[in-house]
């Protein structure tokens, strides 16, 4: 069983290095896990056809990639859950998320994903690989975190995160003060969405509003 955990850690690491650099050097893994453990685990993984080794580079196979995807997904969803809903601070949630990823099953993770409103990025801004639940997006559970565009008018909410891809929009929003933690009221939804915070009323497009994720506050 200890082996399985090690393999999962290794898959996770492979995914993340590949995400940042596009390729994985064996040396990187040896640095991180120690050369003996790395050799041992990598050999087992080749046996299980999770990876291929070419010279000094490591490649994930299709099976390996699928498994790594699930682990990453569990980890990052756990981060979101701990950070957004339980409001555990920046440094504290990371180790918990690391443990979390090894013992939750797919069914639980699908529920968490739905509960959080199928988030697309983790608190650090990295992509969360979508699962089946995100693709079908059946809202069996009522999500806690919603895009701003789905709130009804008059609702009071707190911004949890902003995922917009456009830097310019993100900068303009933060310059006006629309940042995570801001409490706002949806003033109206049509013809355009208007939100109110403090004494400022701000009109924005639906395209922007769907990238602002909020948690509703019962007043």
């Amino acid at each position: 069983m200890a082996d399985e955990t090690q393999i999962e850690e290794m898959l996770e690491c492979l995914w993340m290095v590949e995400e940042d650099n596009g390729k994985v050097e064996r040396a990187v893994l040896e640095d991180k896990f120690g050369s003996e453990i790395a050799d041992n685990v990598l050999r087992k993984m080749v046996e299980k056809r999770l990876i291929n080794l070419h010279d000094s580079k490591v490649f994930l196979t299709e099976t390996g990639r699928n498994r790594a995807k699930l682990i990453i997904r569990r980890h990052r969803l756990a981060e979101r859950l701990l950070n957004d809903v339980l409001e555990i601070g920046d440094d504290a949630f990371e180790p918990s998320a690391c443990q979390f990823e090894h013992f939750v099953n797919e069914e639980i993770i699908a529920s968490i994903c739905t509960l959080l409103g199928h988030p697309t990025v983790c608190p650090h801004g990295k992509q969360i690989p979508p699962g089946d639940c995100c693709l079908s997006a059946k809202k069996v559970l009522k999500p806690v975190v919603n895009p701003l565009s789905e709130l009804r008018s008059g609702a009071r909410a707190k911004i949890v995160y902003v995922t917009t891809k456009s830097h310019a929009t993100l900068d303009r929003l933060s310059a006006i003060g629309v940042n995570p933690g801001l409490e706002l009221i949806v003033h109206q939804k049509r013809p355009s969405i208007v939100i109110q915070f403090g004494e400022t009323q701000l009109a924005l497009d639906k395209d922007i509003a769907k990238d602002i994720f909020v948690r509703t506050i019962q007043s």
Binding site: A175, G177, L202, A203
Partner: protein, 623 residues
């Protein structure tokens, strides 16, 4: 010519400069006017100041030059306005900053203060719109804030000239705000590395430049003319720092600033739970008398205009039509009263903010818009282009050879057909007297008489008369009504409403300002397309202004022709223009390269417009 102006400015240059800096729509231009006595266009619409104005005043410590800057939400440039403002701060060495903050939105103002502090600029803060802050039950502990920041802070109400004296004297004691933000290990390291690479001749602290460079602000690289090699190294440092974060660096930096400001404001700003009840009598009159009457009128008028549009005056005046109109009015009263009593009556919201919500309400705003447009048409098209033009053309100017017959100075008594004549003015028209005078020297057949005072093409008789008599009232009345819409805060709400339609033609709601202004004067409107964010939007809106939006002089002519025929033709005209605008806009948004921008706009509060400002603005615009 240009150089001469520059020289004049230089020789008059004051002892030191003050730059007015602040968020959009906080009253910089009003204060500029109060300080220097110079008028710059003031309105209740963010982004009115598109160019930098300079002026002088003599203070206790000599002549002071004041610079009015366009509103900026941040000194990292996202728009042209912000860039202009930032560049002013970077260029001049000897200057003081007068930061103007809307005291209801202290948090957003202090976000700029953090950046001014980082630049190491001496600041004095002016908390403007103090009256509105009190009205909303917000209290600000200015003493504590002043102590924390270490800069002079003065409360003002610029539109009432309150606190201006104290503000002027505070300029002598400007200080660099005591704000020190730590952006955390990785960013701080990047800042330190970049600081070492920066050239020596920078007017502000290097730390500020370093954070701007880290925020991927490419405009500043251009402004500072940084050496290409050094720039490459700076980019490397920046990209290295960025790789450590999933979020953009600019976002991380501004988040730190906001967190800092939020901590700072703890215990300084508090909102009273029990807001001051607005006048009970006035409130009841508003709910039980004014609103039902207004909504009845709106419903009545909308049905009336509808009947007019599909048929003509004849049908719109019939008995059946009257019943329909009254029904329309009744439905409108029922609907709006229901809404008001359910949603607003028991809340403590101010009447102006209720009106503000109504004018952008999903369903009620449309009939209001129709009636507003009808009102503008009545004022500009009928009163301005009809009655005023007739009066000025026939009575004031008159004809060179015929007596105009004078006019009666009288008042109409409302709702009756009676009128009271004070006196008959026996004035025969300027041209008539000119004609009489000229006939002392020459006969009416003389070529010179024909040239200047001829009935069909005389320079004075036709040229001057028509340009003043026809253009002036139309343009004047248009800008008068435009000024009311602008200063009340109706225009931004209009932007909210038309945003979806404008999306189809590749623009967004913001473009409503140039488009509506185009109904007055297309040239001026083309200038205001500067407020749009991308080049593509500016091209499309200029194209539409030239092609589809009729200016007030054209409307005058069109109204003159269409007024005599049935309303069906009028609706055909409106439909054609509207359809043409949609079609051309849609096609050009597909053909032109570049991107549109997302709609993100602050809605200023609904206010009672100040008559004096509107008159002044109309005067400057028609001049």
């Amino acid at each position: 010519m240009h150089e001469i102006v520059e020289k004049e400015l230089d020789s008059k240059r004051g002892d030191f400069r003050i730059a007015l800096v602040g968020n959009p729509n906080v009253g910089k231009s009003v204060l500029f006017g109060l300080l220097t006595g110079k008028y710059v266009t003031v309105s209740n619409y963010p982004g009115t100041t598109v160019e930098v104005s300079r002026g002088m005043y003599v203070g206790s410590s000599g002549t002071i030059e004041v610079v009015d800057t366009p509103g900026a939400n941040s000194l990292i440039s996202h728009s042209e306005d912000e860039r202009v403002t930032r560049d002013i701060l970077l260029k001049d060495t000897e200057k003081k900053i007068l930061q103007i903050i809307d005291s209801k939105n202290l948090r957003r103002g202090l976000l700029i203060t953090t950046q001014l502090a980082e630049m190491g600029l001496p600041v004095s803060i002016c908390l403007n719109m103090w009256d509105e802050t009190l009205d909303r039950g917000i209290s600000v502990n200015t003493d504590k804030l002043q102590k924390t920041l270490g800069v002079p802070i003065k409360k003002t109400i610029a539109t009432q000239n309150y606190g201006i004296g104290a503000l002027k004297s505070s300029i002598n004691s400007v200080k660099i705000p005591k704000i020190d933000i730590n952006y955390g290990g990785d960013i701080e390291e990047g800042i330190k590395k970049i600081e070492e690479l920066l050239p020596d001749d920078i007017a502000v602290k290097r730390r500020a430049i370093a954070t701007m460079l880290l925020s991927y602000d490419e405009a500043i690289e251009e402004t500072l003319k940084i050496d290409a090699q050094i720039l490459e190294r700076i980019h490397k440092i920046r990209d290295d720092a960025q790789n450590k974060f999933g979020h953009p660096l600019s976002y991380m930096i501004s988040k730190r600033r906001i967190d800092y400001v939020d901590d700072l404001l703890e215990g300084i700003v508090s909102t009273k739970k029990e807001k001051k009840k607005p006048g009970v009598v006035l409130r009841n009159i508003f709910f039980f008398v004014i609103m039902p009457l207004v909504s009845f009128f709106v419903g009545f008028k909308v049905v009336d205009l509808f009947l007019f549009a599909i048929a003509s005056y004849v049908v719109a005046g019939g008995q059946m039509a009257l019943i329909l109109k009254i029904t329309g009015g009744a439905i409108s009263v029922g609907f709006s009263s229901f809404y008001l009593f359910v949603r607003e009556y028991r809340t403590n919201r101010k009447i102006s903010s209720i009106l503000g919500s109504l004018t952008m309400h999903p369903s009620m705003a449309w009939p209001i818009l129709i009636v507003v447009l009808w009102g503008i048409y009545k004022i500009v098209g009928e009163f301005g282009a009809g009655d005023c033009v007739d009066f000025i053309e026939n009575k004031i100017f008159g004809s060179s050879l015929e007596r105009s017959g004078g006019f009666d100075f009288k008042v109409f008594i409302p709702f009756t057909r009676l009128e009271y004549v004070f006196t008959h003015v026996n004035f025969q028209g300027i041209n008539y007297y000119l004609g009489l005078l000229t006939q002392k020297f020459m006969s009416a057949d003389n070529i010179f008489f024909e040239l200047f005072l001829g009935k069909d093409a005389g320079l004075i008789q036709v040229g001057i008369t028509y340009s003043i008599a026809i253009i002036l009232p139309i343009v004047g009345f248009f800008f008068l009504s435009f000024g009311i819409m602008e200063d009340s805060g109706y225009l931004p709400r209009l932007a909210v409403m038309v945003n979806r339609i404008f999306k189809v033609i590749g623009l967004n709601g913001k473009a409503v300002l140039p488009m509506v202004m185009g109904l007055g004067c297309d040239t001026m409107a083309t200038l205001t397309t500067r407020i749009l964010d991308t080049k593509k939007e500016r091209i499309i809106s200029t194209l539409l202004l030239a092609l589809a939006v009729p200016c007030s002089a054209q409307i005058g002519v069109i109204a003159g022709i269409l007024g005599r025929v049935s309303g069906v033709y009028f609706s055909i005209y409106i439909f054609v223009i509207f359809f043409q605008m949609l079609l051309v806009g849609y096609l050009s948004s597909k053909i032109l390269r570049g991107t549109g921008s997302d709609f993100l706009m602050e809605i200023p509060p609904f206010r009672m417009p100040k008559i004096s400002n509107i008159l002044l603005k109309t005067y400057y615009r028609t001049k």
